[in-house]
């Protein structure tokens, strides 16, 4: 029952966090879904500027859409550079975006790796069922890019809406493998990661944009993430550092 429970729980958390944010008082941070564990942990810790910060997690595209609709936000951390560009073009910020974390892609397999998958090319095998993220979402674009750059042809049985969907299919045993972020695979139980050398060529970056202008409440948070304490928290969860 564990994979089901964790999937359900993730779904409930995501659904709950999808709503808007508060204005005034506490700083508000919009962040891509993969950052949910590390940022939630930080917001509960004493001695960090993230303490009691209001966090909202969703896909980078829907967060950007909310910001365009004037949701009051101090910092936006996106997994998709295009969304950052979109906001800057629309005039929501003229500060420089800053990379705060990096991630890598891994192959997620069922605990114990029963099929013994070891290489990216193994995903082309006819007997292997693969789940990928859909084109259009950052993970999907990264996955597709990596596969075409290495000339590996994979026909997945499903294109999931996000990393959680891919992981769920793997954890439930409905597919044999999926391509997800290393951090997601690490935090999921019942799932093992297979590290692949081809992932080194893929640069997954999380870019933070300060939306508070010069006043700097947002900059304080971003600075913290770039500090030793922030970097150590990120590394602890499996993120690579900029």
């Amino acid at each position: 029952m564990r994979p089901f429970a964790s999937f359900l729980l993730a779904g409930v958390v995501l659904a709950g966090c999808g709503a808007g944010s508060q204005s005034g008082g506490q700083p508000v941070v919009f962040a891509a879904s993969s950052l949910v564990d590390v940022l939630s942990e930080l917001s509960a810790e004493e001695g960090t500027p993230f303490l009691n910060v209001t966090l909202s997690f969703a896909s980078s595209a829907s967060l950007a859409a909310q910001i365009i609709d004037d949701a009051p936000v101090d910092v936006f951390i996106s997994a998709d550079q295009a969304q950052i560009m979109r906001l800057r073009r629309a005039g929501f910020s003229d500060t420089q975006p800053q990379v705060v974390a990096r991630n890598s892609l891994v192959i997620a397999v069922e605990a114990g790796n029963p099929l013994g998958l070891a290489k990216l090319r193994d995903l082309s095998r006819r007997d292997v069922l693969v789940a990928l993220a859909a084109p259009g979402v950052p993970l999907g674009e990264y996955s597709r890019g990596m596969l075409s750059a290495t000339n590996v042809e994979v026909t997945p049985v499903t294109f999931e809406a996000d990393a959680r969907g891919v992981l769920a299919k793997v954890a439930l045993g409905e597919v044999d493998a999926g391509i997800v972020y290393a951090t997601d695979a690490a935090s999921a139980s019942n799932v093992d990661s297979v590290v692949i050398p081809e992932a080194e060529a893929v640069n997954v970056e999380y870019v933070a944009l300060d939306l508070t202008g010069v006043s700097g409440a947002g900059q304080v948070l971003i600075e913290f993430l770039k500090s030793d304490a922030g970097r150590s928290a990120l590394a602890g969860r499996g993120f690579l550092l900029p």
Partner: protein, 270 residues
């Protein structure tokens, strides 16, 4: 409206106010959608292969779902309304539970039972080589699981209402129970069946959570129109709006075509 009509149909003020408020509640979001849609790009989206493929799949699967819902749901409604089986209340709750469950949870339940490692799914795979997830039948199954309760409840209420001396009279005239069912009960219950079928079809057409969880998403096989819309939100909102309008237009066409014939039947009025 003539003076006579105005005075003959006097509606209590409170009802009128609340009623029109409800109309606004429904109308405003739809109108907002219509206003925001970039109509100039409509032809591009409609003729796009991905969209037509998803549209065809959605219509095809939702129609099959509706037919299956009638084939299975009418007998179930009969059992609930007319038989003496003990524990009917429990059975009814069980069969309509999927209406209350969040669709994704329903999808997880389907995976747990019919997935590759599912209770029944494993047997299907090992013995028959049949795998349901990621196939078109899986789309139908997901839709059926969440949408059939609508038909069951509507038709059950129809059967309960039609029970009475007419059916007894038919039997005294020499009609077998099956003849009574097909020639007397079903025609009398037809409005409820139609109403239930329309609700089922509408729910099936819009089904998303259970479908993407159980059947997955693959173009041509399992990518339905709602899934396409949801994914389009991630990359291009305008596309999402346009695809949504396609669904709205289809639904409006069907509902208007049926006009008052089914709306009244839900509440029992002919």
């Amino acid at each position: 409206m003539s003076r006579q009509q105005r005075h003959d149909a006097r509606v209590p003020i409170a009802l009128a106010v609340l009623g029109w408020l409800a109309v606004a509640f429904f109308a405003v979001p739809i109108l907002a959608l219509v206003i925001r849609v970039p109509w100039s790009s409509l032809s591009g989206v409609i003729t796009d292969d991905a969209t037509t493929e998803a549209l065809t799949l959605s219509v095809f699967t939702s129609v099959i779902t509706t037919v299956l819902a009638i084939v299975l749901g009418v007998p179930l409604a009969w059992l609930l309304a007319r038989s003496n089986i003990p524990g009917r209340r429990f059975i009814r709750a069980l069969c309509t539970l999927s209406m209350v469950l969040p669709p994704v949870v329903a999808g997880v339940a389907l995976l747990a039972s019919l997935g590759r490692r599912g209770v029944v799914g494993e047997i299907l795979d090992d013995w028959f080589g049949v795998r349901l997830p990621f196939t078109m039948p899986a789309v139908v199954i997901a839709q059926l699981f969440v949408a059939m309760p609508f038909l069951v409840l509507t038709v059950e209420s129809g059967f309960a209402r039609s029970a009475g001396t007419v059916e007894e009279a038919a039997r005294t005239l020499g009609a077998s129970p099956w003849y009574v069912f097909t020639r007397v009960t079903l025609p009398a219950t037809q409005p409820a069946i139609v109403a239930g079928a329309v609700l089922t079809w509408a729910r099936a057409l819009g089904e998303f959570g259970a479908t993407i969880t159980f059947a997955g998403n693959f173009p041509g096989t399992t990518r339905t129109l709602p899934i396409t819309t949801y994914l389009a939100l991630e990359s291009d909102i305008d596309d999402a709006l346009l695809i949504s309008m396609v669904m709205v237009v289809i639904s409006v066409v069907i509902l208007v075509a049926l006009r008052g014939r089914w709306v009244g039947a839900i509440g029992g009025v002919r």
